[in-house]
Homo-oligomer: 193 residues x 2
DNA sequence: TTATTTATTGTCAATAATGATAATATTAGA
DNA sequence: TCTAATATTATCATTATTGACAATAAATAA
């Protein structure tokens, strides 16, 4: 016997608007004013539905990292049965699959993490999970490779990939993307002895 | 017949304080108030010596990237005559040589570049120069390697290195640093056929 | 000493961001 | 229709940031 709650919907709208603002202005620049404007809501509704600025930030980080993890898992699960690593590299370095918005948000969060131990911990966990997923995939496709070698290649592959995504933000870097992809292929080939 | 100008000195103090603030609060968070506080100067002196906020930012980017380029050149020139690449990798992945302040500033600038075409251009130029320097060094040490292979390894090595520096900001990543170094060594070894 | 140039300080107005709370409007069920 | 829960709007105080300019202090050369 009451008016139906829109909190879930409003919360999603607010976090989506916050995401857009972080991508556009950075974490510090994502003010509640801008978020409200972007969401088409009164600022007081942010408080009503999510909370104060700290609440909004941590709620956003939570959903953003969960979504990223989920997307990575999904990508890996969609790999074909053969030539998994080749396909993985194709996908990782295909500019069509690169989402600049996600990249700039990840960059912005990393920057902010320099002064936010809690945020740093969450990002660390996320990054470790990514490397671990790549590592597991490499191990599956190179069952005879040593653990140390798998660790190195997984870390290297991740590094090359993350860096390419980061540099993509600067624009006009397609040649570097190509060269990085070639490096990734070379690196993986070192597992075939 | 006038009071001697301190503009050069003050300007340097202000840009150094701006650097500290960017590292601590990000580009958006480096307010002139904080910069003045950090520099121990009245805010009006920033205006007097450098200009408005945009002037301060572009002056800072200018000096920061120039200094970085210079430091890279210097590092390369200090490499021994033998085992240059091995030494390079030792230096690049030595945590003692990693300056978190520089890294977080580079991250912050990259984030800001997503909405600042001029800044993006400057960062692009800087990154390209870095890759080119690595490339030249590799070519010198592997004179029989093909250009394409050198391009790939230079891009990959740069990517692994930049990514490690970036992740260092998150703390507690020494294992990833070790694995990344091993990956860098593997990648370079692919040039020896 | 004086004139001139510069450094330094002080003050003001305008704008923006946040937190908080009161007041009003809306909707579903009793 | 009435009630209760919720959404939405309105408003206020506080603080932070910037830009601008006036006023004062300091230092050097003539």
């Amino acid at each position: 016997m009451a008016r139906p709650s829109k909190k879930d919907q409003r919360r999603a709208e607010i976090l989506a608007a916050f995401e857009t603002c972080v991508a556009r202005y950075g974490v510090e620049g994502a003010t509640l004013e801008r978020v409200a404007e972007e969401a088409g809501l009164a600022r007081a509704l942010i408080r009503h539905n999510v909370g104060n600025r700290d609440d909004v930030l941590s709620a956003f980080v939570e959903t953003f990292l969960n979504r990223s993890t989920h997307e990575v898992d999904e990508m890996i699960s969609e790999l074909p049965d053969t030539k998994q690593i080749d396909t993985l590299i194709d996908w990782l370095f295909d500019p069509a699959y690169s989402d600049p918005k996600v990249v700039v948000i990840y960059e912005a969060l990393t920057t902010a993490a320099a002064n936010d131990a809690d945020l740093a911990k969450k990002l660390r966990k996320w990054a470790r999970e990514f490397v671990a997923a790549i590592n597991a995939l490499l191990a599956k496709n190179h069952p005879r490779a040593k653990t140390k070698d798998l660790d190195a290649v997984a870390a290297g592959l991740t590094g090359i990939y993350f860096n390419v995504e980061s540099m993509t933000l600067l624009g006009r870097m397609s040649d570097l993307r190509e060269a990085s992809k070639a490096a990734a292929i070379r690196l993986v080939q070192t597992l075939k002895t």
